[in-house]
Structures are given as C-alpha cells and as structure tokens.
C-alpha cells in the first residue's frame, strides 16, 4: 500500500486560538474543540500554507517543518517521518486533515 498523503481542510473549517503554549482548535463541522500541543499546530500550518487541494506525504511535511522542529521517534530506530505520519493520521481520524491513500 502506498504511503498516505495529507491535505489541509479549507481555512474556514477550523478556528484556531493560541492559549499559552497550546492551541485550541474548533472544528466547525463536528462542533468539537481540540487542544493541541506543538508541533501539531505547526503541522497544520505547514499543510495550510500549501496551495488548496494539494496532498503531500509525511516526508514532505517533515521537510516543511524541519527548520523549526527536530522531530525524533520514540525508539532510536523509528524514522521521523513515521512520527509525523502517525500524528497526521490521528488528525485525520479526528477530521482535522484530509487523507488519501492511493491504491
């Protein structure tokens, strides 16, 4: 199976407010509020800066945020893009990003 690719929701789909070091995110279509710690808001920012409708892989997202974050896996052997992919998949399950998995 090919690697999943990710895309931001339309800007109007989320309301985001920084609260101290965290970020409160209101997801309009579910009415659910999420409280996210870094680097998750930065992952959303990175996706949101791309042109609308463009899907990118976790490795590409990692490259976009690499300047600001030194993302490492829990295990020494775990690849950083696997960490990013996992976080983005969680966001996808919450409906906060769009995921496609090519056949």
């Amino acid at each position: 199976m090919a690697a999943p690719r990710f895309s931001a929701l339309p800007a109007a789909a989320l309301k985001r407010v920084p609260l101290g070091g965290l970020e409160a995110i209101y997801h309009v279509s579910s009415g659910i509020t999420h409280l996210l710690a870094e680097p998750v808001p930065d992952l959303l920012d990175a996706l949101a800066r791309l042109e609308p409708g463009r899907f990118v892989t976790a490795a590409q997202v990692l490259a976009l945020v690499a300047e600001r974050f030194d993302i490492v896996g829990d295990d020494p052997g775990e690849a950083p893009e696997a960490v990013v992919s996992e976080r983005l998949s969680e966001l996808g399950a919450l409906g906060l990003v769009t995921i496609v998995t090519d056949a």
């Binding site: 279509s29 579910s30 009415g31 659910i32 399950a93 409906g95």
Partner: protein, 362 residues
Amino acid sequence: MTDGWSVARALTDPGSVAGLDATGWTHLLSAARALSLIGTLAEALADSPVPPGVARVLADVRQSNVTGQRQALWEAKCASMALTGYPGRVVLLKGTAFVAAGYDAALGRSIGDLDILVEHAGLDQVEALLLKAGWEWVKPDPYDDAYYRQWMHELPPLIHAERDRMIDVHHTILPLTAKPKPDAAALIAAARVLPSGLYVLSPADIICHAAAHLIADGDMSGGMRNLWDIDRLVRQFVVEEPGFSDTLAERAKLHGLTDAVGRALRLTQRLFGTPIVFRLKPQSRVVTAQSGHGLRLSPENEKQVTASDALFLRRITAVDGWGRKTRKLTRQAFYMRSHLLRMPPAMLARHLWTKWRKGHRG
C-alpha cells in the same frame, strides 16, 4: 385550545398565532416542547412577528437546531468512516436521513440517536467495526443482550466512549415480534446513495418506515412529530417523485404495511391537511386525489376506522399547556397496546419475570 391541536394549527398556519396572548403563547410553546416539535415550530415561525419574549425563546431553539443537526451529520460521518471496510450498504434512518438528504422534513427536526440499517448478514462485521472504532455496549447485561438479539430489529444500543453519542444498528424496521414483516432486503436494495456514500431509504420506503413506527412501535409519545415528518415528506415526494402514489402503494403492500400507511396518511390529513395520495380500502385500489377530498370507505369499515382513528388522534394530541401528557386512560390503553404489539403475551411475561427476578425496577 391547549393541546396538540393548537401546535398542529400553528405549524400548518403560522399566521394563526397572531392573536395569541401571553398565556396562549406559554401553552403553545410548552405543548410543542412536550411533542418534540418545538424545533419545527421555531423554524415555522422564523419569519412571523412574535412578542419579544417568545422571539428569545425561539431563537434559542433555532440555535439548538443548528447544533443538533450538525452533531447528527458528524455522527453519521464518524460511523461512515468506521464502516469503510464494510462492503454492504449503510442506510441512514429517521432524522439523520432527512438532514443528510436535504429533505424539507429536516427543517427544525430534533435528532437523538443515530439510526442505521444494514443487512442482517452484515451485522457481525458492522458490530466488530464499530467496537473497534470506539463504540461500546450501553448495558453489558447478558439477558438484555440476548433479548435484543433474539427478538428486536436492532443490535443492543452502542455508545461512543468519547463523543457520548448512541448508535442503533437495525437489520429491519420493525421488531421481529411485530406482525408485519417488512422486506428488509428490498428496503436496502431500493435505497438511494448520497454524495457521502451513505444511503437513505427510497421515498416510498421512508413513508412506510415512519408509518410502521407510528402504528406498531413505542407508546406513541413521538407520534405527532412522526406524523409531521410524514406530512412534509409526502408533500415533497408528490411533487418531486414521478408516480409516487403508485410506488407508495406497491411498497406498502410489499412490506405488509398497507394498513399502517393508510392510517398514517389519514391521520396526517386530519391533523395537517396532507394531500391524499393513497387509498387503501375497500380494495387497496390506488387513487390520487386532490387535497380536500375525504377518504371513501365502505360504510362498515368507515365506522370502525373512524373510531380507531379518533382514538389515535386523541392520544397523539394529548398534551396540555403545561407540557403534561393528558387523557391518561387513552395513554394507558396505548401503552398496553404497544407492549402487546412488540411481544406476544407469553414472551412479555417471561421478559418481565426475568427483569423482576434480577431485581430490575420493572
């Protein structure tokens, strides 16, 4: 008039509220709330001049409508995501279906649990997928569980641990103990797909489902809202669906629900002036009549039907200006009736006995 009839009149003729005084409004709002029609009333009166205090109450209700329908659609989406690996059709039922399909009946409709229909053979897989996606059993009681699985038309209710929302997974639209046996496979086969990939019942089957609920399920406490659904749906389908009357008659017959649909349509006609699209007796011959025509029945049938229709109507409109269910004798009769309809008496006795023995409240 301080009962359900005043709610029916306000819904069908919003101008009729113009003369209400404070007491009249108070009673109307309480009765509408008790009938689960306050959301619908708020939308119906959205453009009518109302006193300021009433306007504030109705604005709150409209806000709740928006939130409730958004949550319902999201819940349907969550179920759809959870069931991605299920190859069969997932059919939305009741309020969520109306909203998802954009039917007029969705306007102001309150929505509780998410109800879906899947084929019987798919139940195990659907159940497993939902459990995997975070839904849990509401009551982990082996007796109740066995009871549901043996006799009901749905799985025991599941609740999502994080979102605290219930889902009812049906494999047909009436309890297996009810006399009519709707053709579940035909319901699913005729369902219509929505852009989301979820399905809703075909227009005629939606009416059959609503009618089945009204006649054969529950203690009728949601009866008036159910009839309002039917009124809105019929008015829309008559215009938008070619041959709707004939199709409805055929489908009602197929599902064994000709009497139920006939009854429901007579009641909506009486309460809301719904156009008559369906004639069931004496020969189940279909006619399309214009609004305002009465039903023509054989004299002996007419007498019988009129009497029991009147009983239904009394029960359905039985609410007072404090939102209390009134006319207790009629209610009691229906309560017994609903139990008898759901379960043959011996089974009912066994069910209650098992409950008592286990120390349940009843």
